[in-house]
Amino acid sequence: MQSTAHAFKDNVDRALVDDNLQQSLAILKVGFSERRRQAVERLPEFEALRDRARDIKNHALAHLDLYLEAFEAKVTALGGQVHWAPTADDACRVVLDICREAGARTVAKSKSMIAEEIALNAHLEAHGIEPVETDLGEYIIQLRREPPSHIIAPAVHLTKDQVADTFHEHHRKLGFDRRLTERPDLVAEARAVLRRRFQEADVGITGANFLVAETGSSMLVTNEGNADLSNTLPRVHIVIASIEKVIPTLEDAATLLRVLARSATGQEWSSYTTFNTGPRRPGDLDGPEQYHVVLLDNGRSSVLGGDMQDMLRCIRCGACMNHCPVYGAIGGHAYGWVYPGPIGSVLTPQLIGVAEAGSLPNASTFCGRCESVCPVRIPLPKLMRHWREREFEHHLTPAAVRQGLALWAFLATRPRLYRWATGLANRLLALFGRADGRYAWLPLAGAWTRYRDFPAPQAGGTFHAQWKTRRGAGR
């Protein structure tokens, strides 16, 4: 997918005035976080499970080569094949080769962020193979030729009316004449259309939430059951997964699953959690004849062992974006590439470069909610700060910001001058803003005041002054 992360500011300007998007985000902001909160309350062990989940992923990363080898040995022993793909191009080529070998014309796809990352659909289409997305949200955005705007709810930016229009436009040629308006009808129509597509597909492609080294199983979590149809009906099943998905044992999977569903959708357990292990066995009445696992690196191995390694713990639950005030204001598309939200702000510069995506780690209030809800305790604000530092070191930061920082540094390293300047600014702002308590416009702060008012300082002086008084009172 072509990144527009460099045009982040323009993307944001558009997102803020998009009424449909804002309507959808209003639902998202309450729904996901409230359901997660309730699920967490129902499980007293939740915080301890988060610690354990973090430790499991850290352990797996520290021995990643061994666990990958163990996983591979298991899959191979069962008659499956493991393919190693250092780059996105390699992964696309491997998948295309398998599809061609199978004589595939259509592919049933279950939502996979890795497939988005390597732009697999475009590659297959360019070579005459039709990928059909089967997750309802992913299917909707495929019809609209849009990228996902959320890692677990790809069509969360759309309203029901937009979905109705999309189905009406695309399903007419399949004999569905009426424009449906009710949700159950829209779901039923998609079910009918996609059921046929499942039956004609030669290959099923899924991602994986985890790869279990102990058993050689790839694990999938869905609520619709589309991944299970993708890995049961077609003759060939291809799993595409990045290397950091491997974990040691089934018991470790249990711990990670307990935090995944609750963090993602606030469910106790997703409707379908499936362990796939190799191709159809002798005597089986259904299931694929071939089972392939494509292991993708795409830069991840270079993150190991460094100060950004924590990002590889991510289990793609989406909690960080569900709780992010920035995501909640602008939605996922504004981030400009595959992964939105706080985790996107950390992953994207790694995967496509800080020169392209340097704006993303700057799009944070550093409120820390993302870290406070992350099921594997990724220190997202810290990682975003790392990227800001690298951007600065590489002289990619805009001149105005650099000059501003230089001025700030000049003041901040001269305490008396700093106190005098901030005290003066505070008094001036308080004086002129006294009437209505806020500013609709301020010199040099146009970008702020264009969308919201700047609060005028309250009585009591600067933070330094208040701190001094308070400490004096406390003694």
Binding site: H63, L66, V187, R191, G225, W269, R281, L285, G287
Partner: protein
Amino acid sequence: MTAREQMLGAIRRSLRRGTQAGEARAAVEARLRRHPVNIVPARTAGTDEDRVRLFERWATFNQATVVRVGVADVPGAVVDYLAANNLPARVVMAPDAALDRYDWDGRPMLERRRGLPEDADRVAVTGALAGIAETGTLVFTSGAAHPTSLNLLPETHVVVLREADVVGPLEEVFARLRARYGEGGMPRTVNTVTGPSRTGDIEQQLELGAHGPRRLHIVLVRD
């Protein structure tokens, strides 16, 4: 150099070490062999009856329906459920010998076919390896006795589950899988299913029956 060597080499370089040997490798191998249990939620503690009640509670919480009956009443419970939901008394049933212990012939009006589901099949009847009380989840294993597509294609899935097969946490399912398929062994597919198929992809409102069954009914059998 193969892609495999390239990737494993890159991992080791980043971790600033060569191939692991000795103690580190032994620790990894031991973990795979011993698969230690992590943290198990306390909610599954209690008597057998507590566990069955907990299963029922969470299954219902997740929009499944549950009925508890004796062995003799299983076929009747299935017939009643179909009638109550205006469904035809015609089912496709898993070719599972474990289902033969119920007196289906005592209900001649219930039409049964065993094997893979076809497009016209609206109701599937299967057994289950286990029910997980922790979350009200059913566990299905693929094999000659239980094709996976029975769990997915018909719009109604009726599951006959023995109370003795209701376990506490997920970890007890792993123990059963290891007992049946050997250490480190698994069937092609293990489906853990919690309630009917669902989606929240249109305006985040819950809709049942996205791709899999719209209805999931569990007949819990006292032994």
